[in-house]
């Protein structure tokens, strides 16, 4: 009974206060529209700055840093590499110079492996191109003549030559030991007879002809 009377009293109160409450809601409704417009402009500005209105405030960031440090600052995923320790036998300490040299060797190996892969790729692509060219040869009838443009042929030749040069250079790079052996072979000292032969070889017919031509020109003058 008491609660019903209490509700009855509250009912009378609410009935009298209701108009005021409705006015308050209406005022807040209008205020809300203005607030919405202002916040929309703000959110557009923030959007072009790469932020959002819903993003964390400075207080939130600070609070997260204090309460959940692991979430805010996650451990960076670093690519771990097994270290190579070289210990000096005499001193029983890590020899840093040798370790650096070892790392340099490892890097050089990796670089060479990459170059080797590239070279193989180039070779395979070249082979494929050749095969493609062969395939692309047009089928001709018996009466038709095969017309090959000279420009294309030249360009192909040039490309081939370039490739050969590249191959040579790479072979030079890659087979240093072999070249060293070749140089040792070439270092054989020529005899006097061989030198004389070389001199004789200098007096070729072509050379003489050239000189004669020059003399002839002078004689005419």
């Amino acid at each position: 009974m008491g609660s019903i009377l209490k509700k009855f009293g509250q009912g009378i109160l609410y009935l009298f206060v209701l108009p005021l409450l409705l006015v308050a809601v209406a005022i807040f409704g209008v205020y809300g529209i203005f607030l919405f417009i202002i916040l929309m402009i703000k959110s557009i500005i923030l959007f072009f700055k790469g932020k959002s209105l819903q993003s964390d405030l400075p207080e939130d960031i600070e609070a997260k840093r204090i309460l959940y440090p692991e979430k805010v600052e996650p451990k960076a995923e670093v690519e771990e590499r097994e270290p190579i320790y070289i210990v000096d036998r005499d001193t029983d300490r890590i020899d840093e110079d040798r370790m650096a040299a070892r790392y340099a060797i490892e890097e050089e190996k990796a670089r060479r492996a990459i170059e080797e892969d590239r070279r193989k790729e180039i070779e395979t692509s070249y082979d494929e191109e050749e095969e493609d060219d062969f395939d692309e040869e047009p089928l001709l009838l018996d009466n038709e003549e095969k017309i090959e443009p000279n420009i294309e042929d030249d360009s192909e030749e040039v490309e081939e030559e370039d490739f050969e040069e590249e191959e040579d250079v790479e072979s030079e790079k890659l087979t240093v030991d072999e070249l060293m052996d070749d140089e040792e072979e070439e270092e054989d000292i020529p005899t006097l007879e061989e030198e004389s032969k070389i001199k004789v070889d200098d007096s070729d017919d072509d050379f003489e002809e050239d000189h004669n031509l020059i003399y002839k020109d002078w004689g005419d003058k």
Binding site: G9, I12, F28, E62, I66
Partner: protein, 219 residues
């Protein structure tokens, strides 16, 4: 004893019935009001979720700072919640405008029951003959018998149908959002007072000293 008027038994019963009805109506209003208050308290709890971390981490250090911080959160939440109802209201406004353009009626009467209004879907009764004068006041004395309009679908009223539905949905939704905003605002004001208050309620100096001594003896 002079009696101004005598009430019969039936009159007494009638008056008691009316009084009970009035009490019931007020109790009902009281219940509805208390439900609204409870709902608003529940809606206001949202601010606890939004501001909890900053308060617990003691980043927000005084009531003024808390009010400023919580209001920013409240505004952002209001913006997020009010987007959809305001878009619906915008759609209803555009529908009204397009109806005006297509029907070439300025203004376009949405209450017209003949052709263009949403009231074409309802019965419209003729109340002109239902009033009688009672001590100089015109009062409704009987239920009307003539219907001016019976429900019918009108193509010209499509705009008003859409407008009324979208406007009602959008406006009610928006008012609920505003109510939530007010609820959070009240909660912010209450929390700003309660979080940083230092109360000496139920604190007794002598008891505190006694407890301190007990602790030191125990150690």
């Amino acid at each position: 004893m002079v009696t101004l008027f005598k009430l019969s038994e039936s009159d007494k019963r009638f008056i008691i019935a009316i009084l009970l009805l009035v009490v019931l109506v007020f109790v009902l209003i009281g219940f509805i009001g208390s439900i609204v208050v409870r709902v608003m308290k529940w809606q206001g709890k949202k601010i606890d979720t939004l501001c909890r971390d900053a308060v617990v981490a003691r980043v927000v250090k005084n009531p003024k700072h808390f009010k400023r911080y919580a209001m920013k959160k409240n505004n952002a939440t209001f913006f997020k919640e009010s987007r959809i109802p305001l878009i619906i209201l915008l759609v209803s406004g555009l529908t009204y405008l397009l109806s005006c353009i297509f029907l070439k009626m300025w203004p376009y009467n949405i209450f017209d029951y003949k052709d263009t209004g949403f009231t074409t879907l309802f019965y419209i009764w003729d109340f002109s003959d239902c009033y009688q004068e009672f001590f100089g006041v015109k009062l409704l004395s009987k239920w009307p018998t003539n219907a001016i309009n019976t429900p019918h679908f009108s193509v010209n009223a499509i705009g008003s149908y859409i407008f009324v539905v979208t406007f009602l949905v959008g406006m009610i939704w928006y008012l609920i959002v505003v109510q939530r905003f007010i609820a959070r605002l009240i909660r912010i004001i209450k929390l700003a007072d309660s979080i940083y208050s230092k109360s000496l309620e139920n604190y007794n100096m002598a008891d505190a000293e006694l407890e301190e001594r007990k602790r030191s003896m125990g150690e």
